[in-house]
C-alpha cells in the first residue's frame, strides 16, 4: 500500500467454469485487505460456452477497470487454450498460473482445427514464471469436481498480500453454505501446492 502501482490480474476461462465466482471472491478479499479494487467482465453472449475473461485491478487508486496490453502481472487461467489466447495482455515479467485442463472449442470438436499442443511450454518460451496446477485432480480430492475454481484461487493466493484468514473470510462471505466446507478444503489444497 506504500506505492501507487496498480496490480493487474487477468482471469481467463470457458463459460461455465466458475470464473465469475472466483473473481468475486478475489475482489472481496482485496477490498477487505484495504485496496481500491475494480473488476470488469462481460456477461450475456459470452457465457454460452464461449471465452470468458475477467479483469481485476487493485492498488491505492484504480481508474480504468480494463488491463492494458502487456500489463497483467498475473494471468490466471482456468483452461489451457484460453490462457494462451491472452498472452498479449501479460507483462513478460509476470506470472502465469494455469489449470492443466483442455476443453475443445467447436472447430476442434468438429475435427476442423487442431488444439494447440504443449501450451505450458509455449507460455514458458515467453514468461519465466509459469505454474501449472492440476485443478481437477485436487478438486476431486477435496470432494467435488466443481471446486476447481477454488483450488485455483488457493494457488493464486500465495502470490498476493491478503492473509490466509482474509481469504477464508471472503470465501465464507460468498460461497453458499452447503458448498462451503468442500470449497474451504479445495482452497487449502490449492494453497498448498504453489509454494514452489
Amino acid at each position: 500500500m506504500t506505492n501507487d502501482k496498480v496490480t493487474n490480474i487477468l482471469m481467463a476461462g470457458v463459460g461455465g467454469q466458475g470464473t465469475l465466482l472466483a473473481s468475486e471472491i478475489l475482489s472481496e478479499v482485496l477490498m477487505q485487505a484495504g485496496y481500491d479494487v475494480k473488476k470488469a467482465e462481460v456477461h450475456g453472449m459470452a457465457q454460452r460456452g464461449g471465452s470468458v475473461v475477467s479483469h481485476v485491478r487493485f492498488g491505492k487508486k484504480v481508474h480504468s477497470a480494463i488491463i492494458p496490453e502487456g500489463g497483467a502481472d498475473v494471468l490466471f487461467g482456468f483452461e489451457l487454450l484460453e490462457t494462451y489466447r491472452y498472452l498479449p495482455l501479460v507483462d513478460p515479467n509476470g506470472t502465469v498460473v494455469v489449470n492443466n485442463l483442455r476443453i475443445a472449442p467447436p472447430s476442434v470438436a468438429l475435427g476442423k482445427e487442431e488444439y494447440p499442443e504443449d501450451i505450458p511450454a509455449k507460455l514458458q518460451q515467453h514468461i519465466d514464471d509459469v505454474r501449472v496446477v492440476d485443478g481437477l485432480r485436487l478438486a476431486e480430492q477435496a470432494g467435488n469436481s466443481r471446486t476447481v475454481n477454488t483450488v485455483l484461487l488457493g494457488a493464486l493466493s500465495n502470490l498476493l498480500a491478503p492473509t490466509h484468514e482474509q481469504w477464508l473470510n471472503a470465501i465464507r462471505a460468498l460461497v453458499p453454505e452447503k458448498f462451503l466446507k468442500v470449497n474451504l478444503e479445495a482452497f487449502e489444497l490449492g494453497r498448498g501446492i504453489v509454494q514452489c
Binding site: 470457458v14 463459460g15 468475486e24 475482489s27 472481496e28 477490498m31 481500491d36 479494487v37 475494480k38 473488476k39 470488469a40 467482465e41 462481460v42 456477461h43 450475456g44 453472449m45 459470452a46 457465457q47 454460452r48 460456452g49 464461449g50 471465452s51 484504480v62 481508474h63 480504468s64 477497470a65 480494463i66 492494458p68 496490453e69 502487456g70 500489463g71 487454450l81 484460453e82 494462451y84 489466447r85 498472452l87 498479449p88 495482455l89 501479460v90 507483462d91 513478460p92 475443445a104 472449442p105 467447436p106 472447430s107 476442434v108 470438436a109 468438429l110 475435427g111 482445427e113 487442431e114 488444439y115 494447440p116 515467453h126 514468461i127 469436481s145
Partner: protein, 587 residues
C-alpha cells in the same frame, strides 16, 4: 457508512432502494438485466418484468403519475421500443421522480448495434447523467430522483457494459427522506397531451433545459480537476477513467450530467487550457455541441467512433508510447458462444438446415443457430423482426420460394414484439411459416421469466399465456405443437407447414436446459460405440458441445465421442445416427 464491492447494476438497484422507489419495471436486456434482478431483494419495491420496454416505461410513467418514484431499465436498443412514450413523457413531466436507465453496449459484446443513448437524451429533451463507476451509479441515481422532482422531468441515466458489469468499491448511503405522497391527482393540462396542452408544455420543456444547464454549472457532479500543463480534457462516463489514466497531468472537466451541457462551465474551463481534447465513447455528442459554441477541440478526428474505448486504444489514438505486447505466433481456434448441450433449439435448426429453409431470425440464444455447423439463419435485425421480415420477403417471391420462408422467434421475443407481426401476417394473407421456439424462459439474458413462463420476476406463480390460443385468436388456422427432441416428427411437421400456402405456426416446446424453478431434468448421458461408428460425422452436424471428434491415428478412420459430464441425455444425436452407434449409459 458501510463499504462494499458492487457492480454498476447492483449500485443502480441499491440506489433505487435508497431513493425510496416504489415501482420498478423492465424487459431484460444485456447489460441492464441485473438491475431488476437485484431490486427483488428490496421487498418494499414492486418490481416486475414487462413484456417489452414500451410497456415497462408506461408502467413507470403510471407510477410517477400516481406520485411514486419509479425506475425503468432497459438496454440501449430497448429505448427504440420505448421511444414513443418517452418523447411525450418529456413534455408531461412527472409527479413522482422518474429515472430511466439505458445501458449501452459499446463494442457490441452482446448486441446487434452500438447506438449511443446520449442522442436520445438530446432528441427527447430529457436530462441525462453518465456515471463513471459504481459509486457514481449510486450517487447519480439518487441525485436524479431529486432533480426529476425539482425540475419536473423524467431523467435518463446512461450506463455501458463497463459500468453495469464492472465492480468497484461503493460506500452505501442512507434511505432518502421527504418522499412524495401517492394518490390520484387530476391534472389534464399536464397529463393529457392533446395538441392544445402539448403546445403549452413544449416551451416549458425548452425552458426547463435552459434552467438545468445553468444549474448544472455549479453542481459537484460536473467538476474540474486542475492540470499541470496546457492540455485540458472534457470527458464523461467510463471514458473519464481512461482519460485520467492515460493523461495523469492533464486538466479534466468531468461531466456528470451530459445533457444539457453546462455551457458557462465549459467556457471557463476552455479558457484555461491551450489545447482541448474531448474524450467520449461512441458518438461525438459532447464534441459537436462544444464546437457549436465556437470552441476549437480535438475529438473524433483522433478518438475512434466505433467500439469501446480502452486506455490502450486511447494511447494509440494519440500516438503515445505503449509497452510492446507479447505476440502470439500461431492462429488459435476461436471459442464462440454456442447453444448448450441439450438445448431444445438445436434439433429445430438441424431440421431447418436439412429442409433448406430461408430463415428470418430474431434475438435470443437461438440466434446462435446462424453459426456453423447448423448454419440455419439468414437474417436478424431486432426483437420481433423475424415475422414482419418473413411477410415482406414472401411478398416478392414466386410460389416455390415462398415455401422456403420460415420465421423463427422465441417465446419471450414473440410476446415482446412478435404478436403484432403475426397479426399482420394473417391479416394480409402471407403464406410464410412461423416457428415459436418455446423454451419457457428468456434464455440469452440469463433465464428471466416472462408472461408465458408461468412465473413473475419475484418467482411467484402467474398466469401462463396460452400461445396456441393466442395464435388462433389472431386468425392462424394451422397451429401445431411439437417436442423438438422428437427429430423426425419436428422435421415432418415443419416440412408440411412450409408447404402449406397460408400462414402457419409451429410451436416447438421444451424447457431450456438452464431453466429455473427446477423444471429441467437431465437424462442419463449417451456414449458412442466406437466399433459401430462409421465416421460419417452426421452427429457432428448438430454442433453439440458434448460431442467431440477423435481423429484416427495411423490411417484409422476416427470416431465421435461424448463428454459424459456435458451430455444431458437429450438423445437427438442418437436419432441422427443411422448406424445405431449411440447408446445410453446405464451405470
Amino acid at each position: 457508512m458501510q463499504k462494499t464491492v458492487l457492480s454498476g447494476n447492483e449500485a443502480f438497484a441499491r440506489a433505487a432502494y435508497e431513493a425510496g422507489v416504489q415501482v420498478a419495471s423492465a424487459y431484460p436486456g444485456t447489460p441492464s438485466t441485473e438491475i431488476l434482478e437485484n431490486i427483488t431483494q428490496y421487498e418494499r419495491i414492486d418490481s416486475s418484468w414487462a413484456p417489452n420496454e414500451k410497456v415497462a416505461l408506461e408502467v413507470g410513467i403510471g407510477a410517477s403519475m400516481g406520485g411514486a418514484r419509479a425506475l425503468v431499465t432497459m438496454k440501449h436498443v430497448g429505448v427504440n421500443v420505448a421511444a414513443d412514450p418517452l418523447f411525450t413523457f418529456s413534455y408531461t413531466g412527472v409527479r413522482g421522480g422518474f429515472v430511466l436507465v439505458a445501458a449501452d453496449d459499446p463494442e457490441m459484446h452482446s448486441s446487434q448495434n452500438e447506438q449511443d443513448s446520449r442522442n436520445y437524451a438530446r432528441f427527447a429533451k430529457v436530462p441525462m447523467f453518465d456515471p463513471a463507476d459504481s459509486q457514481e451509479a449510486l450517487d447519480f441515481t439518487r441525485l436524479a430522483f431529486a432533480a426529476s422532482e425539482q425540475f419536473d422531468t423524467p431523467i435518463m441515466l446512461r450506463s455501458t457494459t463497463r459500468i453495469s458489469h464492472s465492480k468497484s468499491v461503493v460506500t452505501l448511503g442512507e434511505p432518502m427522506q421527504d418522499l412524495p405522497a401517492t394518490g390520484l391527482t387530476r391534472d389534464a393540462k399536464k397529463f393529457v397531451m392533446l395538441p392544445g396542452n402539448a403546445r403549452i408544455r413544449h416551451p416549458f420543456v425548452e425552458e426547463r433545459l435552459e434552467r438545468m444547464a445553468e444549474w448544472a454549472c455549479d453542481q459537484p457532479f460536473n467538476r474540474i480537476e486542475e492540470g499541470q500543463g496546457e492540455l485540458g480534457i472534457i470527458t464523461a462516463g467510463v471514458a473519464y477513467q481512461y482519460a485520467r489514466e492515460v493523461f495523469p497531468e492533464a486538466g479534466i472537466l468531468k461531466l456528470g450530467l451530459v445533457h444539457p451541457l453546462p455551457q458557462r462551465l465549459i467556457r471557463e474551463f476552455a479558457d484555461r487550457y491551450k489545447t482541448l481534447y474531448i474524450i467520449e465513447e461512441l458518438d461525438p455528442v459532447i464534441e459537436e455541441q462544444v464546437r457549436a459554441m465556437g470552441i476549437e477541440v480535438i475529438g473524433k478526428d483522433k478518438v475512434p467512433i466505433c467500439g469501446e474505448l480502452t486506455p490502450g486504444r486511447l494511447r494509440k489514438a494519440f500516438g503515445l508510447a505503449a509497452t510492446e505486447p507479447l505476440e502470439l505466433t500461431e492462429q488459435l481456434p476461436p471459442r464462440p458462444p454456442n447453444m448448450c448441450p441439450g438445448c431444445p433449439h438445436r434439433g429445430v435448426f438441424y431440421a431447418l438446415n436439412r429442409l433448406k429453409a430461408f430463415v428470418t431470425g430474431d434475438i435470443g440464444c437461438y440466434t446462435l443457430g446462424f453459426m456453423p455447423p447448423l448454419s440455419a439463419m439468414d437474417t436478424c435485425i431486432c426483437m420481433g423482426a423475424s415475422i414482419g421480415n418473413a411477410t415482406g420477403l414472401s411478398k416478392v417471391l414466386d410460389a416455390e420460394d415462398q415455401q422456403k420462408v420460415v420465421a423463427v422467434i422465441g417465446d419471450s421475443t414473440f410476446l415482446h414484439t412478435g404478436v403484432n407481426g403475426l397479426m399482420d401476417m394473417v391479416y394480409n394473407q402471407s403464406p410464410a411459416t412461423v416457428i415459436i421456439l418455446d423454451n419457457s424462459t428468456t434464455g440469452m439474458t440469463g433465464r428471466q421469466d416472462n408472461p408465458s413462463s408461468g412465473f413473475t420476476l419475484s418467482g411467484e406463480k402467474a398466469y401462463q399465456v396460452d400461445l396456441e390460443a393466442l395464435c388462433r385468436s389472431l386468425g392462424v388456422r394451422n397451429v401445431r405443437t411439437v417436442d423438438p427432441y422428437q427429430m423426425d416428427e419436428t422435421r415432418q411437421v415443419i416440412s408440411e407447414e412450409m408447404a402449406r400456402p397460408e400462414t402457419s405456426v409451429v410451436i416447438t416446446r421444451r424447457p431450456c436446459v438452464l431453466i429455473k424453478h427446477d423444471l429441467f431434468k437431465k437424462n442419463p448421458p449417451l456414449f458412442v460405440d466406437a466399433d459401430k461408428c462409421t465416421a460419417c460425422q452426421a452427429c457432428l452436424k448438430l454442433g453439440c458441445p458434448a460431442i467431440e471428434w477423435e481423429p484416427g491415428e495411423g490411417g484409422d478412420k476416427g470416431y465421435a465421442k461424448v463428454d459424459r459430464l456435458l451430455c444431458t441425455g437429450c438423445g437427438i444425436c442418437e436419432q441422427v445416427c443411422k448406424f445405431g452407434a449411440f447408446g445410453v449409459c446405464h451405470d
